[in-house]
């Protein structure tokens, strides 16, 4: 318990020096690990707990999944703070305070057991993120990216709040366990599906799932690289985490008869997200924007894993999310180094100039292998976990979509590493949009300080090692079982019941999966190779590709009214589909 409280004590980050803020992030991480290893507990703030079956106060109900998210958040914050200690020259304490509040918000978001409290932390996270995104306020790009980000996410937040209002009007409760218990007593109707739609879509905006994903690429392309690490590595997966959490804690009882319908709906959204993300990723030449679209694609993969609604699927998603966050964080830091040294992350410009960052190609290659789900990366272990139950349920085709998305995103990253960093191949006449950008740092461009390359490579290596931690899959399965068990969760929070330890069977890694992983890497290398060698014969192919991409590119217009229209359309479709189940 002391751990939770101490985590809160750190919310007074004011005028902190570099060292102090790094120590704070490390301390929060240590506490999260303590929570992770401890048994699930419930902590009631203000000392008001349950009176006659009604939760009066606000509770934190951390379990392994939530604690793992917090540990992840603090690890990534730690890495980006170390990275930025030499990164910005005009670094003020404002930046550190914002980063720490951002971390505190993510921690609260991962641990809380109260629906409205979840919303409060969601808003706190958003407010800090908007400000961090617009950090380079002397340029037009970051401001526009932050505006797009802020307006769409604020609209999503109001959707969430409306959904919370609906649930409160029905159940008179704000505690997730209690709402779940009350909803399970009644029949599902338009209110239940409406609330599910509004809350899920609101959080899916944060998770950047198609068609709510537009803001992400804009925000990531322009936010400072260390901030991108947090956005891509943990904030976006947290949106997905919230959807998983509210579905299992609140709606799984009431909608128990509609699991197959929900599975189909989420799988379709996941496929759309993975495909759009992968294709757009390949079409980028701005490295940060390329990585941003690859994040969208990988969120689609994670959504497909969670959509299966099985223990293995959830556990796989968790392992995948952790490993992906580490690898993607490392790649964004690498992008930050490139920007620091050369003043640009544009593929074509980098190819034309002589730069001293060719060595970065090595970690980026390794990172790309991580995105391609090659063993022994954590992404591979996660994918292997997901695929078993996906195939058992007859959704084998999803695996092919995931395979394709992994190949294309990894191929695009490899293309950047080989083409821009090593200068291999010929210049493709690919036309992406240029984003005018100033370097984020001033002075000292001649060398790369250790505080920059160490975190970057360390994150990628950690992503590699994550797959080799003994027992990671069985622990993840135990955590997933906890998340899934609505009745046990409610009993723990409302009745103070102790949790029985879940048993998990460690799935052996089979050879087919390994072959699949290496196959993906081979295919990605092939893709990168082809795109760097435009033969005369293939010119026509290129033109065809560009023509086909035009409409899709045009959809990503950077215009807020468009984004909001997509938001409404997506919500209406989701809600319409959900309403069909109960009619």
């Amino acid at each position: 318990m002391a751990a939770v409280l101490a985590a809160l004590g750190h919310r007074i980050p004011r005028l902190l020096a570099n060292a102090l803020s790094i120590a704070t992030a490390a301390a929060v991480g240590w506490m999260a690990v303590t929570l992770l290893l401890a048994r699930p507990l419930v902590y009631w703030f203000s000392g008001w707990a349950v009176v006659a079956g009604k939760a009066i106060g606000i509770s934190f109900a951390p379990d392994a999944a939530g604690a793992a998210m917090v540990a992840m958040a603090s690890l990534l914050t730690l890495a980006s703070l170390i990275f930025s200690s030499r990164y910005f020259d005009t670094v003020g304490t404002l930046y550190h305070s914002l980063m720490l509040v951002f971390l505190a918000a993510m921690a609260g978001f991962g641990l809380t057991g109260d629906l409205f409290n979840l919303f409060v932390f969601f808003e706190l996270m958003s407010a800090a993120a908007f400000a961090l995104c617009g950090y380079k306020s002397e340029e037009a790009g970051p401001l526009q990216g932050a505006l797009n980000f802020a307006v769409t996410n604020a609209a999503g937040a109001y959707l969430v709040l409306s959904g919370i209002g609906l649930l409160y009007g029905r159940t008179g409760a704000l505690n997730m366990a209690e709402i779940g218990r009350r909803l399970a007593e009644g029949r599902p109707d338009a209110l239940v599906t409406g609330a599910l739609t509004m809350i899920s879509c609101g959080f899916l905006v944060k998770a950047a799932v198609a068609p709510f994903h537009f803001w992400l690429a804009d925000a990531h392309a322009v936010a400072p690289a260390p901030v991108c690490v947090l956005f891509s590595g943990i904030m976006v997966p947290l949106g997905l985490y919230a959807v998983v959490r509210i579905y299992w804690a609140i709606f799984s009882g009431a909608l128990a008869g509609h699991q197959a319908d929900l599975r189909n709906l989420l799988a379709v959204i996941g496929v759309a997200t993975a495909v759009v993300g992968a294709v757009m990723c390949y079409a980028q030449r701005h490295f940060k924007r390329l990585l941003a679209f690859s994040t969208i694609s990988h969120i689609g993969i994670m959504l497909m894993g969670a959509a299966i609604l099985t223990r293995e699927g959830l556990a796989g998603t968790g392992v995948y999310a952790v490993s992906h966050g580490l690898v993607k964080g490392g790649l964004f830091l690498a992008a930050g180094i490139v920007l620091h040294r050369t003043g640009t992350v544009d593929e074509l410009e980098l190819r034309r100039m002589r730069h001293g960052v060719s060595w970065l190609a090595a970690p980026v290659f390794v990172g790309a292998a991580g995105l391609a789900e090659v063993p022994p990366f954590g992404t591979f272990r996660g994918e292997a976990l997901m695929s078993a139950s996906t195939q058992a349920l007859g959704y084998g085709w999803l695996e092919w979509v995931k395979f394709g998305a992994a190949v294309v995103t990894a191929g695009a990253v490899l293309r950047f590493a080989a083409g821009a960093l090593l200068g291999w191949g010929r210049t493709p006449d690919e036309e992406g949009h240029e984003i005018p950008e100033r370097p984020e740092t001033q002075g000292g461009h001649r060398h790369t300080p250790a505080v920059m390359w160490v975190p970057a490579t360390a994150l990628i290596v950690l992503g590699l090692l994550a797959g080799m931690v003994p027992g990671i899959t069985s622990e993840a399965e135990k955590a997933a079982a906890q998340v899934k068990d609505r009745a046990a969760y409610a009993a723990r929070v409302l009745d103070g019941a102790t949790v029985a330890a879940a048993v998990a069977t460690a799935a052996p890694v089979n050879a087919g999966e390994c072959a699949r992983g290496f196959g993906a890497l081979a295919a990605a290398v092939l893709l990168a190779f082809i795109s760097l060698r435009p033969q005369r014969k293939e010119r026509r192919l290129h033109r065809l590709w560009r023509g086909a991409m035009r409409p899709l590119r045009d959809l990503h217009s950077g215009v807020i009214p468009d984004y909001v229209t997509w938001l409404l359309l997506g919500t209406a479709l989701f809600g319409g589909a959900a309403l069909m189940w109960v009619r």
Partner: protein
């Protein structure tokens, strides 16, 4: 997307969304007729706030006691957006900074008359008093740290309206406002942490509840009320000052 496509798509999806929303709303009980589980949270709090806490304003009881942790988060949202605004609107080295001068649009043309100036400056005192009154009576009557804080923040702005930007900077220099805001936000957390020190859960009430209707009833709620008042007054004033300086002095 062309404007036409956008509107067409919007009309379709908004109509569908609104229909779904209304369908969901019709699942609520008729207005004013809430009963059963749905009514019990509110009823329980209405029942408990006077006997258990000696707080006569149940909304304040929820805000600062039963769900005090939400309010702590809310204070941090306020603090973060002030930080954020300061970060965004900070001066960049390449932007020249002249001495602060009043250059808001239209202000050069008409200075307010003496009578207006005397009146607005004269109002500062009563408004400040009223703000303090609203803050400290939070647990008794409608109002509290938040509402009172906003009123307090508006008092120094009256000075600005009277056309005295210079005096505004003297009355409410930025560092003072910043300190007030920091004390407000930090104070809340410190009050909560003291609960831990005396062996209670975070933010639990450790002071005697006092007499019903007294100014210092409600235990730590009265204290929290004041810190929230400070935080909101400081935060809002700082936001307005940032915007004001932005509007008055910054040159591209």
């Amino acid at each position: 997307m062309s404007a036409g496509t956008r509107i067409a798509m919007f009309v379709l999806s908004c109509a569908a969304f609104t229909a779904l929303y209304i369908a969901a709303l019709c699942g609520l009980s008729p207005i004013g007729q809430v009963h059963g589980w749905a009514a019990q949270y509110g009823d329980a709090i209405n029942r408990m706030s006077v006997p258990a806490l000696h707080i006569t304003d149940a909304v304040t009881a929820v805000n600062f006691e039963f769900r005090g942790f939400d309010t702590l988060g809310e204070e941090f949202i306020m603090a973060v957006s002030v930080l954020g605004a300061a970060l965004l609107l900070r001066k960049h080295p390449d932007q020249g900074s002249g001495p602060p001068q009043d250059k808001a649009a239209g202000r050069k043309i008409s200075r307010p008359g003496d009578a207006v100036r005397v009146l607005t400056v004269g109002l500062v005192g009563p408004v400040t008093l009223f703000g303090i009154y609203i803050v400290v009576h939070g647990q008794l009557t409608p109002g509290g740290g938040f509402q009172g804080g906003v009123i307090l923040a508006s008092a120094p702005l009256l000075i600005y309206l009277a056309g005295e930007f210079g005096s505004l900077q003297q009355v409410a220099p930025r560092w003072l406002v910043e300190v007030g805001e920091a004390v407000g936000a930090g104070g809340y957390a410190v009050i909560g942490a003291v609960s831990l020190a005396v062996g209670l859960p975070f933010l639990a009430n450790y002071l005697p509840p006092g007499r019903v209707g007294d100014l210092f009833s409600g235990g730590i709620v009265a204290l929290i009320d004041v810190t929230v008042g400070l935080e909101v007054a400081g935060g809002l004033l700082l936001l307005l000052l940032v915007f004001l300086e932005e509007a008055l002095t910054r040159r591209p």
